[in-house]
Symmetry: C2
Amino acid sequence: MSLKALRTHFTGEINPEADNGQTVTLSGWAHEIRDLGGITFLVLRDRTGRAQVTILKKKVDPELLETVKRMSRESVITVTGTIKAEPKAPNGYELMPESITVVTVAESPLPMDTTGKVDAELDTRLDNRFMDLRREEQTAVFVIRDTVQAAIRDFFRENKFVETTTSKIVAAATEGGTDLFPISYFDREAFLNQSPQLFKQMLMSAGLDRVYEIGPIFRAEEHDTRKHLNEATSIDIEMSFADHEDVMELLENMIVYIYEQVVEKCQKSLAVLEKELQIPKLPFNKYTYEQVLDIINNEIPEIEDKMQFGDDIGTQAEHLFGEYVFNKTGESHYFIIDWPTETKPFYAMPYEDRPEISKSFDMMHRMMELSSGAQRIHQYDLLVERIEAKGLNPDGFDFYLKPFRFGMPPHAGFGVGAERLIMTMLELDNIREAVLFPRDRKRLSP
Amino acid sequence: MSLKALRTHFTGEINPEADNGQTVTLSGWAHEIRDLGGITFLVLRDRTGRAQVTILKKKVDPELLETVKRMSRESVITVTGTIKAEPKAPNGYELMPESITVVTVAESPLPMDTTGKVDAELDTRLDNRFMDLRREEQTAVFVIRDTVQAAIRDFFRENKFVETTTSKIVAAATEGGTDLFPISYFDREAFLNQSPQLFKQMLMSAGLDRVYEIGPIFRAEEHDTRKHLNEATSIDIEMSFADHEDVMELLENMIVYIYEQVVEKCQKSLAVLEKELQIPKLPFNKYTYEQVLDIINNEIPEIEDKMQFGDDIGTQAEHLFGEYVFNKTGESHYFIIDWPTETKPFYAMPYEDRPEISKSFDMMHRMMELSSGAQRIHQYDLLVERIEAKGLNPDGFDFYLKPFRFGMPPHAGFGVGAERLIMTMLELDNIREAVLFPRDRKRLSP
């Protein structure tokens, strides 16, 4: 016994020429049913696309016709029939049915439209995510996300990185204090981890040398914007015997590899989304923080808040600077490097000859920041000094500091927001469209 | 500027014959320093193994000799020198140094031994995990774990599965109530997810068709045993148009593929652990729950607690039955199928002709249970009935039940404990050895 008989092919696997005349069984959803009198078109949809089932009233069993007549849209169906090459049909073939079975009936009315003919509000869509994901544009996003994650893993494997899994339940805050979700861990207080940062650094002392992790991070940030999530996926790497320059090179190569893989493997999904990806050019342009400051203050009059050394780059400035770079270079991706030490976390390595500047970088996309990274401090004394300079108590970081006393190699790393990567690649309006079941200030369900 | 000059090769990448006479730079830890008078052996260790640096007092710069004399064990060092094939040295070569640099000094005494000569208690090891992971047996475990995860992903990609990421913060318990860690989610109560079960089922209604996820699960179980973790990694899959037989076949093929990949790619790590893996034979043996009952009650007199239909299989019985199967078949892996419906979660599909039995299975290893799975109920009415029969309120499962009303395909799936998979494969004494930073009743740090 097996349900395998319910499907011999996905709709997207059929080759109209090679499979012409073959008998196949398809399973999926009744996407559309159009009764034109003598002929009925039933469109069956699965993850890979659609197949047109052509029912000629005079030629089929009356019972089969009856089944189609009674069928509600979005019911789960199985169709066995013969492939007929037909250039005018979707995917170049139609299916001449021998049998049609309704496996599960869908109730009517549907909670939302799946044909793309009616626009629904994002909230309605997310409330009915199971239905929203049936829209081919949404399916395409997650088929692409799968390819992106596979590309990242292949890239790091190829570069001799080891995939690691670190704890999400932690006793202490990564960067000391704010924006944490507290957990009751038996009779103790614990937190959801904001970042695997401290773990991946400890793993450098452990000698794993090059590690990466694609996993959840949790931030209790109050703001509810188009580009923030309270639970997100972070692509995190750390590399020993490497500095910020080395990992920037790794990062830009990773981005290009991802784009190349998506272009190679996801043409169909890109077509559904009406996107043509431009592969970013290597190397990415680099601007020092001070150059950015200078350009913002002197070359972009539209920016309202002028900046001083040590200021963060505001949203408007970031946006207009991204446009400036794009107009100048034709590229969406670029680095802002050499940030003031005070603007970066305690573990960012200051330059030896100019300690107010750190060996740090942000990797930007025109739309938003995608990644932050740095060479890290590997000297115990300097690290303690920096923790104290941030007003934090080194005692709270005991478990983290100890590995620095017994042989910590120089190392560097970065984190990339997976959803932001997808969002910028596919120019999605809202980051929630890049997550299956998003979590934000208001949303805990489904 | 780049730190790439610190390493031209990993120690394990050098081919004694091909690279003989070549100049290389290695970086790693000072594993051992043996001063024999006229000759000093310095062993440099990295993730891939060890290299012997041979220092002939009369031939090297006195400054270099001084550096080695002052060097503390486990300091991070960089050595540039010439490869000399030497069958008696580890990995078949020695390095004749031109320069040796101490990059980071390790304090003495070390918090624990890394040579494997002194056995440390597990708690001491976990408290000093960064140091414990430097032991080559522990490095080997995580190099193998990396290969296992890569093999799983390759296997599912090959079988047309899409990798998904589901939320770890949830509003409701997956299986209704117990063993949950509560979170303060802004002003609401939420929980850490015990399993992606409900999500992956919703994704079947969404039409993603075949999904897998390797991600964290959280269980607030009080017991503190060798084989339980409070935060673990689950390998979860769900497949549409498939039943329990189909996914059992997938599961046994996955296990065999993983073993094959580890044998192919991890010979060195297996040798360090002194393990020779036996590839499980296909198909795995299957015993129905009732057969197991019968054997336990009649053929294994050592089992103290005899069983009645509906009883769970206790730890002692499970263990002795595993031995029984192994002695009879020579195989460690087997299935127990057709469990009483009442012993399984509400979503397990009952047999049509014998509803007290469900289309469910556990996949066992001689040492312990590795996986649970089933065909799932896809009929809304039956599912509501089963939720109620478990004493749960269907209203709490609204978000989950809705997808069943609008076109849910038949589907089946399973979850596998990643750490248990590693633990049984490598015959580790304690599941904590398969996790970088384990979390249990008592341990929240590092």
